[in-house]
Symmetry: C2
Subunit: 421 residues, 2 copies
Amino acid sequence: MDLAPSPAAASAADAAEDPRLDRLAELAVKVGLGLVPGQELVMTAPVEALPLARRITEQAYKAGATLVTTIFSDERSTLLRYQHARDESFDASTPWLFEGMAAAFRGGAARLAIVGADPSLLSGQDPSKVARANRAQSIAYRPALDLIVDSHINWTLVPFAHPAWARAVFPDASPADAVQQLWDAIYATTRVDAPDPIAAWAVHNAKLKARQDRLNEQRFHALHFRGPGTDLIVGLAEGHAWMGGASRAKNGVYGNPNIPTEEVFTTPHRSMTQGTVSATKPLSHQGTLIEGIQVRFEAGTIVEAKATRGQAVLEQMISTDAGARMLGEVALVPSSNPISRSGILFLNTLFDENAASHIALGQAYSKCFVDTFTEEELVRRGANRSLIHVDWMIGSPEVEVDGLDAAGNRTPVMRGGEWVD
Amino acid sequence: MDLAPSPAAASAADAAEDPRLDRLAELAVKVGLGLVPGQELVMTAPVEALPLARRITEQAYKAGATLVTTIFSDERSTLLRYQHARDESFDASTPWLFEGMAAAFRGGAARLAIVGADPSLLSGQDPSKVARANRAQSIAYRPALDLIVDSHINWTLVPFAHPAWARAVFPDASPADAVQQLWDAIYATTRVDAPDPIAAWAVHNAKLKARQDRLNEQRFHALHFRGPGTDLIVGLAEGHAWMGGASRAKNGVYGNPNIPTEEVFTTPHRSMTQGTVSATKPLSHQGTLIEGIQVRFEAGTIVEAKATRGQAVLEQMISTDAGARMLGEVALVPSSNPISRSGILFLNTLFDENAASHIALGQAYSKCFVDTFTEEELVRRGANRSLIHVDWMIGSPEVEVDGLDAAGNRTPVMRGGEWVD
């Protein structure tokens, strides 16, 4: 599952006129957030997403929001920092803003993030400055992130077709065509194109729930991924639970934290991953594209990490803290879903993680357990702790997945990219 | 002096290419804020002001800012609230955001607000909802406002030519021409058109300083305004000091809190205003234009208030709290300045208050005293306290201003709109 991005940083006029934009906004509020009348909403959005932010604002007020506040970010202002700021800037962040957001969440506000960015924004910048800025922001954002990760509140991520993102995904199209093609792909994969999107999500959530229940019955001890460049055992946390689709936050509200979503996922044991794994898709991380990732784990920790492109950023990322070298999530995704079938490399986690099975380095979700445990208990059961949570794709039709029980007995789980049963 | 607006809530492409936009941004950072290397900057801006916000961000980083954060507001989202939100929304605000901003200020951040709005945005909305929303916001904003009003930090307001504002000021011009004419007026009145704007502001600040010194030597007990519909005695606070132009904040930084500024101002005694006064220009207040204001004071408090247009909003405004019916500022402005000479009714306090002498209802500036006093001492000396601070114009070439000493002896201060000496 993709985590709410920390707020760091205006779509085409035609796109703003598309009636599907309103349907996406309604889906975000009703299915994504499940917004409750009387609830406040805190939204983050790139300035380019202003038309979608306004539609969501309207839908949220119609659904009974008391107040909708959007914190906009601006990528060009972010770049100006890299171009002109003094060195000490890159260890600075805005704890006052993130603590403010955390206070809103503690006060009952829901959280919506509009997702869409230039995937190469920072690719020309000094990787150590990028890493320092990300680290400073991760630390400052922590109070807000904890409330999101631990599902204290209902939250969701929804996409919009950022022009630079569209150009990266459809480099051969004109800028306007690229944006239109990305919107078309967004509407198809979020089921906004269905005759009744909200009903389509009810069906979809029921299917994910059935798969989650099946895996919870099987109670595997570990998963074994085997394919080209991959031979990886991922031990699962003691008392882990599989989740997928709609879930209930601790404030009692049901929502879909990611739109779209196609995965079922759980918490690995942070010291029980062993072997080598090759990414099956490039990873777009904080403005840099990392390609050809190959990693070796020993007793849960990365001991070797290579990439054919973006290796410096990969190394900076896994050096954030001790937990950045260990797993916080493992997710299974079949190939027969709208995102995977589109064949599009979206260069964006919210989509690409739903095209293939994946793992995430860093922070684990405490909700992926059979019960509510204390922090101490979670750690004892194997939940990883880190400032980061970065998903990357390791599944494909060529990668087989087996479940292993405590004795090592093997049950086929995925073959040819599909569920075995 | 205009107060930093509470953040409530993008200019034409041509305007973004005007090199004067960069000069305005440089002026805002160097003369407005006097930004100190290593200082953080928190900016608020309407989304329409994105091009100016980016220029200011660049100039701030070049001047050594550690981090620049812009909180954008969106008028259309504000309108959506009035159109669709449930009734209880209008008693809600975002204390989490304003307390966050206050924390940034306490941590040393400077504050810049880009000013420019649709002066009639809320004129079609229920005045009682407007008043409730403003009141809720004023209460929530208070922790941040106190730090600004009491000059704990360096802060400034700078204008930009919002399209709806330009249309209201130049209703007979095409929308594009109106924006261009407003920008031209902004560049002329902010002295950005001077060969060296920063040097021009040094000269201007020296002149305001000389006027401030003269008034402080004269130590008047009260001012007497006489003109059409006006016969008003404004008693001054015990130990009041006149201020104007650049000032030193408590963090030691010199800046110009308003760009433009043409006034010298001080703190009246809250219970010593007596008589009637007629506004000489319309007042644009929180999206409503209030025209033809006529008010009668007894022992400092408004006992009668009329307006030929917007009376309901005026009444709501002065009913905010007890201090909203009493004066917190009196300012003297000669007619021979670029704003007054332009003959333009800007429908915006930042400009219009600098075209004419004015008074403000509500909160007083504690800095307008000969010494630093405790809150208790300030109140004893006559400083007013309120959630609001609303400037309105009472001066014109037809309004004479005299200074009165304790014995009632009269010294002419302004005649025909100009200083007597």
